[in-house]
């Protein structure tokens, strides 16, 4: 579903990704962990081309993202993205935040788009907040609206960029619960996270990145219980103690 071959990304002299090869299957839930500066967010942002790769190949659903003939906007609608800082549209109500994509990208009539929005908002437990504005919601609620905004486009996969890092500790649970439900329904998910419990319990697969490389890649039980590289051992020692 997502195939990445020899992905490089550099900002001028600074090489952030030094050759990433990874293949993510439909329905897989992948957690990407690693120290800050390891390139995990850049890697995620390359998948929907918010960052343009310096070289390499990214194929999503059989479409080569770097090919001229590919309409990147339509590919992006197929891959949802949830940001650390939510990035809801503050001038639009919850309903309008969720329906903007369906209406403008999918060209859905307002009525159909509203029905879709009601359905996905119910799924994230926010039916009661349809007419609220983002500033009236808690961080956890905002992030759930952001997830609903992605879901409204019926994406084939959703990318999560540290979705709980900006939340107060007591609000992390409600967002993780929604993500867990999505995982159980078979949504393909790539989650950059510091939540080791999520990586351990929900992910099918954990990727550990360091210094622009994928250092380890495997099922959570292997990665967490039997880390092979010294760097992963070091990293796990640090996060466990925090």
């Amino acid at each position: 579903m997502i195939e990445i071959t020899d992905l490089h990304k550099a900002y001028g002299e600074l090489e952030v990704l030094k050759g990433i090869d990874v293949c993510i299957k439909a329905g897989e839930v992948v957690s990407v962990i690693g120290p800050s500066g390891s390139g995990k967010s850049t890697f995620l942002r390359c998948i929907n081309q918010l960052e343009e790769a310096t070289s390499g190949r990214i194929v999503v659903n059989g479409q080569d993202l770097c090919a001229r003939t590919t309409n990147i906007n339509l590919v992006r609608a197929e891959i949802g993205m949830v940001f650390q800082s939510f990035n809801l549209f503050p001038h639009l109500s919850v309903l309008e935040n969720v329906t903007l994509g369906p209406r403008k990208v999918r060209r859905m009539p307002v009525k159909t788009a509203n029905e879709v929005a009601r359905r996905v908002l119910e799924k994230v437990g926010l039916s009661g907040k349809i007419n609220a504005f983002p500033s009236q919601l808690s961080g956890g609620q905002q992030q759930r609206v952001a997830i609903a905004r992605s879901l409204a486009l019926s994406p084939k996969a959703i990318l999560f960029d540290e979705p709980t890092s900006a939340l107060d500790p007591e609000l992390v649970g409600e967002v993780l619960a929604v993500m867990r439900d999505l995982a159980n329904e078979g949504m393909t998910m790539v989650v950059v996270t510091h939540e080791m419990s999520f990586a351990r319990e929900v992910a099918d697969r954990v990727i550990f990145m360091d210094g622009g490389h994928i250092v380890e890649d495997g099922p959570p039980k292997d990665v967490f219980r039997a880390p092979k590289s010294p760097r992963l051992k070091e990293f796990l020692r640090h996060v466990v103690h925090h």
Partner: protein, 217 residues
């Protein structure tokens, strides 16, 4: 002490003429700001997203206008340009062009600043749900940026409205010019300039109240 007495009848007699002048002031201000807004949005947009040549043109325009007095711009346009071009511009048209060009330069900076102040994450969120660049601009960035522009635009509106008084130098019969003409036959300078000032104030105060109301919504 002088034995000056405020002559109300001079004010009342002047009012119909002054109101006519104020109407022209309003017409010039609205005309100038309408075109100035179009120029400003275009120039501000070019400064953000244009290629190097267009950016340079926009920069020269903005700096030239901001670095010269409005009265010089008006006289250059009305008395200077026709000599070079070989045709005269009617005073009212010259007035509106001058005000548009002047306000446009300031509005360009207001527009650029407001668009730049919108968090990058907004663009990314718009693009990540599949919106094109123009769609992201019109549904996500512009509505937020416009809200942030309002106070500065209101301020520019008031400045431009007051700047129309400078148009006396090309003989446009706006409020200040009308005041001069009234005084030329009744010699009641105190009363008439006082009335002119009050009318300007009523106009600028209304604008600032309207902007305040719009900001609250």
């Amino acid at each position: 002490m002088t034995n000056f007495e405020f002559d109300w009848s001079a004010v009342f007699q002047a009012i119909p003429a002054l109101v006519k002048g104020a109407e022209l002031t309003v017409i010039i201000t609205f005309g100038g700001l309408f075109f100035g807004f179009i120029i400003g949005v275009t120039a501000g947009w070019i400064k953000l997203a244009g290629n190097i040549v267009f950016r340079a043109i926009a920069n020269i325009y903005i700096e030239a206008i901001r670095g010269t007095p409005f009265i010089v711009q008006v006289m250059f346009l009305y008395f200077g340009v026709p000599l070079a071009m070989g045709f005269r511009i009617p005073p009212l048209v010259a007035a509106i062009i001058a005000l548009s060009l002047n306000a446009g330069a300031y509005i360009a900076e207001i527009v650029r600043g407001a668009i730049q102040s919108i968090d990058r994450g907004q663009t990314e969120a718009g693009r990540s749900i599949g919106l094109t660049v123009p769609q992201t601009m019109s549904y996500v960035i512009w509505p937020q940026a416009f809200r942030r522009m309002l106070p500065a635009l209101g301020n520019q509106f008031i400045i431009s409205l007051k700047d129309t008084s400078i148009l006396v130098v090309i003989g446009v019969g706006e409020l200040t010019r009308t005041g001069q003409e009234v005084i030329a036959y009744n010699f009641r300078a105190f009363e008439v300039w006082f009335a002119v000032a009050v009318i300007y104030f009523v106009m600028t105060f209304s604008v600032s109240q309207i902007i305040k109301y719009m900001e609250r919504r």
